[in-house]
Symmetry: C2
Subunit: 118 residues, 2 copies
Amino acid sequence: MVQYISPPLDLSFAALSDPTRRGIIDQLGRGDASITRLADMFQMTLTGMKKHIQVLERAGLVVTQKVGRVRTCKLGKRGLKAEAEWIEAHRKLFEARFDALDEIISEMKQEGSDESGS
Amino acid sequence: MVQYISPPLDLSFAALSDPTRRGIIDQLGRGDASITRLADMFQMTLTGMKKHIQVLERAGLVVTQKVGRVRTCKLGKRGLKAEAEWIEAHRKLFEARFDALDEIISEMKQEGSDESGS
DNA sequence: TAAATACTGAACCATATGGTTCAGTATATT
DNA sequence: AATATACTGAACCATATGGTTCAGTATTTA
């Protein structure tokens, strides 16, 4: 049986699957921000934004630090190296598939068969 | 020219957030496979595997074709270009943040403050 | 024609997600 | 001291996810 374990990628890809969270990363790339400021920018309750930040923190994409009553968020040191590596390694597989001869053959066979399923 | 509408990053990052689905992509990189074969490899029911394939299909990462009673799965033409581009563009933001001077300053300030929250 | 194979669909389950409100606590500010 | 600000936590809600079983349908194969 083929098993693939890589919890960090689970968490970071899941974190990146939400447009608000990608927006937060975008924003933090332009400068650190408090949770309140981010909540205002994304028109969301403080509590809602806090949850997004927690997801990003668990994924290691964002780190926070509370000073006084303000929690400041910034991009995490971890970066997106592991994600970039996975994607790049697998892009090659995608490309390799389409250089293969059987690709052309299977394209030819497609006529008359159920291409898209139910 | 054929145009491929790249489904939003939401779908592909969500698809990639599951280790089984990353494994399926890995496997399809080594050759096309039926749903039954994948279900066997990943020790899962046919129905369970079918759902994973549907998620990958909606994200455009896998295409399937049914011939006779067998549905064959292969890597989609779309590839991982959009995802790679997003990641690469944002890696730069992460790196830029850590070149900044305020990074060093904030690291120094961290002593004695609530680093990790609740 | 009968039986095996490969998939499909519906229903169910436990847990997670993305959001909210409401009620706190801790920290400034006046 | 009183008020305002910034966050925290619990509870709730609707929907999605990752899996299952069970009951089909369609297509080989014997």
